[in-house]
């Protein structure tokens, strides 16, 4: 799997990881090995 695909998978998992009744409204993940073109 390319790093691009890894990045996409990571974004998808972040999108899927929302749930109700919490308090965290925003996140920024700082990574090394981004290659997201």
């Amino acid at each position: 799997m390319s790093k691009n695909a890894w990045s996409a998978a990571l974004v998808l998992t972040l999108l899927a990881a929302t749930s109700a009744d919490g308090q965290i409204t925003k996140g920024v993940l700082g990574i090394k090995g981004a290659e997201m073109s």
Binding site: V11, T18, A20, Q23, T25, G27, I31, K32, G33, A34
Partner: protein, 156 residues
Amino acid sequence: MAADAIARQYDVNKNSVKLYCEPGKGSYRPGTITFLAKKGASIDLDKIRESITATRLSGGTNMSVDYLEITATGTIQAGDKEMLLKGKDGPVFVLSDGPNAKDIVAKLRAAKDKVTSVTGQVQGWNGRFPVMLQALAKTSGQERLHLLVTGFETRK
């Protein structure tokens, strides 16, 4: 762009997820992924860990996390020894000064009644993906998480 493809395929607002990679030619350049909870929802850190662990990022990769910075709402509780951020649900955040944010917890304490949100880096979210995920798994479900505060918002 991966974000465009994801937005088309999953009918999400592509502006809610922003990917940034520093320009250059190296294989392991820094980048950020910014994401927002859906309206009325919250981001569950344990679910993020579980989801990432289910990908190949839990295996042999040198890709790493520098930090996970979150913005959280809730009520500030100022004790003698520690400052807490408590929401309706989810973990309680124990607040301490973040990198390059000296004395910010003292400023937070002074403004505690007007604070609407706190931004900071979640302790434990750094290192090479497989190593970090294993370490986080051992501490999953914790009711208290340490947040290294980098900023906060107040109502006027």
